[in-house]
Symmetry: C2
Subunit: 150 residues, 2 copies
């Protein structure tokens, strides 16, 4: 129960980050990483940073690695509003994230359950995965963003 309450509040923080991305004209995806007492949040910044790798997940993974001084984020939990793509699944494995919680599935690019089951390829690490948390809110943000840009 306590776990669930925490998951919800942390995913809510990731949703706020996704909204922030939309305001800046970036595809609205947000992420939060938790490691012990450390909580860091961020959002997609591909355009503003001119960085093809600056998806929300990578942004917070990098931030946490910089803060802790270690590329292995042992015992970390990552919250992201959208199912990670293959790049982010790879980054999550490299960082040894213990637990991944995501919101909406991504039928076209999702590499956890949709396009590909990226954690079942026999790679050297596999996080615990929870999906569907606030999925409607996460999907609505994306839908509205793309409708407004058409």
């Amino acid at each position: 129960m306590r776990d669930d309450v925490d998951d919800r509040s942390l995913m809510f923080m990731a949703l706020k980050e996704a909204q922030e991305a939309a305001v800046k004209g970036e595809v609205p995806v947000g992420a939060v990483i938790v490691m012990g007492d450390l909580i860091l949040s961020g959002h997609n910044r591909v355009i503003m940073d001119a960085d093809p790798t600056a998806h929300a997940e990578v942004v917070v993974l990098r931030q946490a690695s910089r803060v802790t001084g270690n590329y292995r984020l042992l015992d970390a939990c990552l919250y992201v509003t959208l199912e990670p793509c293959i790049m982010c699944v790879g980054a999550i494995i490299h960082a040894r994230i213990r637990r991944l919680v995501y919101g909406a599935a991504d039928p076209r690019y999702g590499a956890v359950e949709s396009l590909l089951k990226g954690f079942e390829l026999g790679l050297n690490h596999r996080p615990e995965v929870v999906s569907g948390l606030f999925e409607d809110d996460a999907a609505r943000l994306l839908k509205t963003f793309f409708q407004e840009r058409r």
Copy 2:
């Protein structure tokens, strides 16, 4: 023929970068990116940068995006000594790399032809791929590195 000469000299530059990585205690993988007159090279820096995403490919993709101010590296050619992993295959797709040339195959983690055919998943971009250039040199660097660390 001219193409081949260029490919060889650029991959040779990537191999020099891989050697440089080994000297610094990083897994020896090097990369070069070419876009018009721009040529940038780099190597794996995961440990020294405390960045789980700092594979050689990502390092040069980011550098080129920063220099050009655009996350889409249209018409770019990427040279890397080792077959890219799923994270790097994703990054190559996001950056819209036109042509990928790599050296040694990576039986355990390679996501172009080995573990997975990452460019054949129906994602929104697919580079031209050439493999096997200086593969023995690239593989030998890795083998020696891991033997010395054992």
